[in-house]
Symmetry: D3
Subunit: 239 residues, 6 copies
């Protein structure tokens, strides 16, 4: 399963950078490929500075899109925007669901990365995860209409939310991102209005790196990202 | 972490065979080595047939030991007996704890396999897991007296209990044991008095094999064992 | 509460057979009656073989309906199809909800059987359960418009999902289905394209039978089905 | 945060009286202000006596509204009715969500009180809580269109459901309502058709009062209400 | 399983009266028999009034024993005192465990009633439950030395703690005790120093009675006790 | 409850500094008083550098004691050492339990601070918490022998473990420690061998400070500590 591309489903334009940018860069670097789907631009919920500066809705969306495109480019990832609207992200929009299913079928990901199952600070995040998980199931069904063939059963990983202890997030996997951390940092710096987060997520990566070593990882690990599994792993060796 | 031996902590003489025999055989076959520690012989709690036949305590223990040794040999595993007594397995026996710590330090396992965290049908099982988890922590401490050096942080996996849905067991890893299943079956058949379990655990391995395929594993998988992680995995690729 | 009929709410055409067919047969045999409501035919999500053979949507639905009717007949159960569509089953369809409420009022069940609360492999299953639980509540309200009178508070039981340990399913009740197991097997055999499941669910029934004996049931039990309660039981004797 | 008004989001017309009437009266008495938003009148689900007496839908709604207005007046609270319909309360009604967001922005509450996260006896209750929690998040966003400015991060408390042990409700805060209990009782007595509940909730307040004393509260506490926090408290002293 | 006696394992002298007195009276009345085992007299932890009056340890124990004997007599139950000491109840006392095992084997209960799994207000309560559950397992083992034969697998029920919502107690069974409530009340009144609890537990029995009706029980139920199952029920009819 | 001293129960010599040093300093500064009880010196489990340097057991204990005394002095706290031994901390040592009870009775704390309920990296931590919780209950009992009078029901708070998301730690209270952070930093710097932790816990305090602001706290908060409640809070205002 590990040779194909990774697909990252992001509720808003910037989520994938902070939470899964390292893994996207790793996948790009080893040639597997990284694809990001942004369900919305985060135009209402995560663009306070732009609104305060007097931007219109279209200007906000364009600005967030430009940043996200720059960040994806820095990571070496492809990016698609579904523009479904945020705050609230629609819960039961047949068009959005179908677009997501078709995207999953087209990409044929080796792994899918989604938001956490709960987030008391942002209702769009768990909803995006729920949509992605259901879309993956629909993409497995022969009877779901599509020009693309069905997919198999790629593993799904939840990326780390901003406040893991409030979101039921418990890390199952710590991924070494040391070799691409400079790339992740560069992608984060594409998010102009959120400078305080550059250091926050650098520090988080460092802490996860320490935990990786503490949990038996290579002593050379300096930066890591945490992920939570949705399905059991299939493995040959317990390690 | 995956090159060293596996250490399996078994409350009673036969537990390791049914629950982790496949992985023991795999580790033995690839040359990593498999070590089993039986905390007790299961002389009181899991030897009903022998008691009914009129055996004495010493006879029961000798019989269970012989079976376990034969099964370990079939799997290619080394086995140690701590003879701490069962039903109940002692909760706070300093000698038992120390013996377990020293064994862990001596083996320097790449992975440790333990019982589930709960079992309403057998209080010895979760207690053995608790002892093993604490012994691993003590084995990591510079200040714990021993002739052996401290160990690192080997990952710990819970093996599948008899009734997983009653024991809080949720599989995190499915290990393909197809290539050694005949060896596991042979080891199970060393347990003379429990013929009905031979087929039960063969059938379970088959079901776990089907689930492994359904969760994205190779289509050639026919038999598998399920494990639950205690600590986060450190990985390079999400798969 | 135990004299009236049982109502089984099935997301797709075949779910009721594998998961609650034994209890349906028992209820039919003792004259209480068994009613099945299929919310969809499972035309998209659970009919892979038919799609691969080139069937059209209408042909798939007709084929699944015919099988489900045959299985219900074998069990001695009545069956109703709401044809709400699957993959995804609609979450907030007022017409579907009302049809379900009216059906519950018309049947006046002594017990209602529903899917598990979670299922990471099939989003329709927990959604069908949620719909059934809410419809039962609406059916209890004097103010809900209907030609039928309100119902009381029939107990609700979740039937066993395919992978109980992944779905938060913990058995609260084991029902002896030994005397009707041949009928359940006959019903399962109406599902032509799923021969591998015939043996799987036969084996599951056998394991649940063993557990029933192990949990204090009659030693003559050979087959059982597992259920999880949603509401407290009202009883005269603790047994 | 404690100087401003409290906002209570009630699924049906009477919920706020039984569950949070004491706190509403306290807030009114100390001049902070209490605002109630009733999402529906509870016309279908909680008005059995009126339906049995032959009232029409409009008569039921008018009657429930009159009672709720009288109770709010007794408590010293302002009340708003959104008339979104009950049994079922709509899950994804954009107009309802917006009305709730605007109300939260207009009131600028120091605390928001909502239903429990689960209730197997009433699906409207957890749904009302989910709506209120999401509306609060939307009310915090600069980009959400409104004539009112954004709000800060007022704490949210779940009030006690009718059967706490079935609804995942665990009390985090016990509020002394001794000084206003007569006012709460008077408000409860505005609910004409539910006399049996007057004593039930008087008795509950007494039990919660005893628990408050047992958990270190002032020995003079005689009546209390229980609440569950959604977010961490920010405090200067641990008490 | 329902024809034999019930065995109630009580941490302190009075626990069985408040929490399971109704069921004890029912079992006595229908001739099945009720046996109580008090692990301690509650001499330190639940006898504040006696200590304040200047009683010695032996006087406290004698007083609590006399009350418990009177209450048991009122209920029609037999009672045994193991005098293991309370506050703290010993966790790993081999003599206590053996006494409990032998008592279970001697009584051969059709059901065993134990404390809740957690209680942040009283550490003896969950410890008594843990001891009872393990003793039942030991009593099932052929190899455990005893003059009595092994027992089967009697169901185990947790009785309701004083603050269920703080103790992880969720009712699975509501038992109608209407016909014996006067007997339970008489037994409660044997507890001289705890008059305030007489009314508290009368009121609790009334509330559980209302819930029994609300959950589908007979409309004539006026008093009930709540219980939580440890093991799955084996049943013929889902009701 | 908030005027009296705080009592902090620390498994090892340094735990109280990293996890609750800020609150100790606050309590000291406002004159309420701070008392620390160290159950062990952490001589085996948390003194790797000393062991590597060739120190003897007594030297290690003396060194840890000196550091802890210096840190307590910096915080303005009194400190007591029970020297019960670590790795493992004894689970059922009657002398240790009694010493803890007597200490609690002597101090009469307004609040008690303890470790988290779980910690897969350190078995002593949850065990110390369990001991402290039980000792508090014993200290409340009239019948427990002591020269000191019984205590009331001081609230208990769990302080933050090193890896909260692995230890079931979810913050319920964020305490502003901005005004004493320099004191906490000075106390941390008494721990000579653990320089890397000085910055780690400075950074953690900063993150918790940001969360406090995000959860409605004063915008001037720069440093905070997180705590989890064991018992419900008794409050007059929901804030």
């Amino acid at each position: 399963m590990s040779d194909g591309p990774v697909l990252i489903v992001s509720a808003h334009a910037a989520d994938f950078v902070w939470r899964a940018g390292g893994y996207a860069a790793l996948a790009a670097r080893r040639g597997a490929g990284a694809h990001v789907v942004c369900l919305s631009y985060g135009e209402r919920g995560e663009s306070a500075a732009l609104w305060k500066s007097g931007a219109t809705l279209e200007q906000v969306k364009a600005a967030r899109r430009a940043e996200a495109e720059a960040a994806a480019k820095a990571l070496g990832a492809q990016i698609t925007f579904l523009d479904a609207g945020d705050y609230p992200l629609p819960r039961a929009d047949a068009g959005l669901m179908d677009a997501l299913v078709q995207r999953i079928r087209a990409v044929r990901p080796a792994a899918i990365l989604v938001h956490s199952a709960a987030d008391p600070y942002n209702a769009d995040h768990p909803r995006a995860a729920e949509l992605a998980l259901e879309a993956r199931i629909l993409a497995q069904a022969e009877g779901y209409p599509s020009e693309h063939p069905i997919i198999g059963a790629p593993p799904v990983f939840r990326f780390e939310p901003h406040q893991p202890e409030m979101c039921g997030f418990q890390p199952d996997v710590l991924v070494d991102i040391t070799e691409v951390f400079d790339v992740k940092r560069a992608a984060m710096e594409c998010m102009n209005a959120q400078e305080h987060l550059w250091d926050y997520y650098t520090e988080l990566a460092r802490r996860r790196g320490v935990q990786a070593v503490r949990n038996g990882g290579d002593r050379a690990i300096r930066y890591a990202e945490a992920y939570q599994r949705v399905y059991p792993q299939v493995a040959g060796v317990l390690a």
